[in-house]
């Protein structure tokens, strides 16, 4: 099974893998080989890519997943490798997000998204 992560800036990953787990907007999806063709909407959260005994972990920033012909394409705005997330930096981001103004609907929406993103990152770090 081929796994590809595409962001607008680069193709972040293109490998053969046995198992992939992805954060959908309403739960998690696990994909093994020969999965039925699917298009899914992604939420914030952790993506696991297992190849042999290695497991790569990424933080996925929303987007889509398209599965067809044994190719899993992840389209996301940003994929951060787990090692690049720092607990302090993420906690800072959460407090920054909480301090955002919420006087208009646009601002409230932005604040809500930033908080969700930061809390998903914290959850991922705590699990490790």
């Amino acid at each position: 099974m081929q796994v590809v992560i595409v962001t607008p800036e680069t193709t972040a990953l293109d490998v053969q893998a046995e198992f992939v787990s992805l954060p959908l907007i309403d739960g998690e999806i696990g994909i093994l080989k020969d999965h039925a063709p699917t298009i899914g909407r992604l939420g914030f959260g952790e993506m696991l890519v297992r190849t042999g005994s290695d497991t790569d972990r990424y933080f996925i920033d929303g987007g889509f997943v398209q599965i067809s012909n044994d190719v899993v394409s992840v389209l996301t705005g940003k994929a951060t490798p787990f090692a690049d997330l720092g607990m302090d930096a993420v906690r800072n981001r959460l407090s920054e997000a909480e301090a955002l103004p919420q006087s208009t609907t646009a601002e409230t929406e932005l604040r809500r998204q930033s908080i969700n993103r930061a809390s998903a990152q914290i959850k991922m770090l705590e699990k490790a």
Binding site: T11, L24, T38, I39, R41, F64, Q66, L75, T105, A106
Partner: protein, 296 residues
Amino acid sequence: MANPRALDKRRKSIRNIKKITRTMELIATARFKKAMDRASAATAYTDRITQVVGDLANAGLEVTHPLLEEHAEQKSGALLVLTANRGLCGGYNGNVIRMGTKRRKEMLEEIPQVAMDVSGKRGISGFKFREIEMNEQFLQFDDQPAYEEVERIANVYLQRYIAGELDRLDVVYTQFHTIARQTAVVETLLPLGTLDGTPDEKSGDAKQSESVYEFEPSAESILEEVVPTSFKVKLFKCFLDAAVSEQIARMVAMKSATENANEMIKSLSMTYNRARQSKITGEIMEVIGGVEALEG
């Protein structure tokens, strides 16, 4: 006859300028390659998004979204102009600024209020000179615009469009066709109109085949996300095109500057040699004249 020393000095200074323009040309070439790579990476993403839209349309879903529809009443528009932070790139900035001013006039005839958003120092000073008021100014975009930064700007436009505070968004930028051809263009990004990937109504034989895809959680939910993403990617593509075109324009401008310097050095060398020769001849004549005077 000109003073040979002054000529030599001029020649030296032209040589120095040539070194600078030559280096700038090389730098622009390297940056152009990097920018080009990014632009092609973005194409991979856009192609896949287009594919998703096509699959959604094939699944028999009516592609409708507030971003695709025109507002009935046009009250306020926005014009985003993408220029460079630096000059020395031929007509690149001038073309975009001229086109932006023209489009602003056209928009003002239809829409009572048009806000100008400008990216790049050159554009900002250009519009300041023309005494056109600007709403927002961006300076953070160079030869490698970051998607995150563009997304932030895109989100602001999206929220304003959905909230009804914005009825139209036009972007003026330099579109990249080929290495030899870039043109300043205006594109209307909001309303989005149609999405790439939706089958044309004209080609009546659109695929009737049922989509094979399952949609998680639902096709509607995916559409809700695809439309804003398409807009963001389109805007990002504008920034990328502008960055690539800027580097090409600089490359070309610096190349011709270097060539001009070469020509100038050549003609100055000729004048310098002639001046030197005639000076020597003059001196010899003086010496001979002196000797003859003594003998006489």
